[in-house]
Symmetry: C2
Subunit: 170 residues, 2 copies
DNA sequence: TTGGAAAGTCAACAAGGCTGACGTAAACTC
DNA sequence: GAGTTTACGTCAGCCTTGTTGACTTTCCAA
């Protein structure tokens, strides 16, 4: 507020909401909100010697059953060595199953076991509770705006992955 | 889209947008967007042997100059040992200054040095570029919705900190 | 059929969280 | 004024999760 800002002019649009201060606040909002976003599943995970990395792997294997390690790597944005460590424990603990590829035996196709599906459900339930309540409080239009901004904020390849997952599961 | 959903009824509100599938997509959107959110400053930081933890400390010291270590701890949500490691290197490198409190000499008040301000500006510029472009593409209403949802998603104490910072800087 | 690329595994290291214990100085309380 | 609490710093050690480098197995193409 307090107007008198330097009339950025060149785009002709209404740019008042794009002051550095407003953007700084949005950055902080993103930081604090992400903390809340991960807090609930994190609480569950500590009790079972798992971390956020396990959660992410489980989430995406559930979303794309039969995915290969390589494909999962792209979704998660980590190195294969890093993912491998997590997968090893999940497989050893009987939450994930790894099947050698039929046509290409170098590939491993990943599936959740029944136990894996149970954990996935527990974690995503916890995370959805907060989401649902925030969405309900904010209202449909706010939610639409929320998702629009998030999508435009992603790196293009991430947006591509995101949209593909979205299509493949209605 | 496709209407014909089961009229959930009990809250009287329009709840069509709150299916589990929609919530799952929002969770993924949050995950992918946060990756983009941190990507640009991260690229700058690796070249100088700093990490995200340093960025966060610098950000909040800039936002609340003269803040005490204890207060910063609360904002960042880490232990003092963890913060201390980061702070020590920032002070040694001349980016942050620590001043013994005047009224309470147990406290240390933290300030960015000139070099610290330069780095802060570099990092937040990089982060704001993406934000600004996402905001511009999404439009003012989407941005308003975005911020509303983020705020309702925070833990109450985080929301309190967030709003206090917001007030104190226009 | 051989040589390179691709998928996955093993080993070692670094960043940055964490807990626990301890020391010091200043402030507060009785 | 003595004892307690508070703010901060530090050492030591652990865990998760990221990294790079080196290796095997498999596939494919020249």
């Amino acid at each position: 507020m307090a107007d008198g800002r330097g009339t950025s002019s060149h785009s002709g649009e209404n740019l008042l909401f794009l002051t550095d201060e407003q953007l700084r606040q949005a950055i902080e909002a993103m930081f604090f909100a992400y903390r809340g976003f991960t807090a609930d599943p994190d609480r569950i995970l500590v009790d079972m010697a798992y971390g956020r990395a396990h959660h992410r792997a489980i989430h995406f294997i559930n979303r794309a059953p039969g995915t290969t390690v390589n494909n999962l790597l792209g979704l998660l944005g980590v190195t294969k060595q890093s993912l491998n460590r997590v997968l090893r424990t999940l497989i050893a603990d009987g939450l994930v199953e790894s099947q050698v590829g039929k046509s290409d035996k170098r590939e491993r196709h990943l599936y959740l076991t029944e136990a894996g599906r149970v954990l996935e459900q527990t974690l995503s339930d916890a995370q959805r509770v907060r989401m649902r309540s925030a969405f309900r409080d904010a209202g449909p239009e706010a939610v639409a705006g929320f998702r629009t901004v998030l999508e435009t904020m992603m790196d293009p390849e991430m947006r591509h992955s995101y949209l593909r997952l979205k299509e493949n599961s209605g």
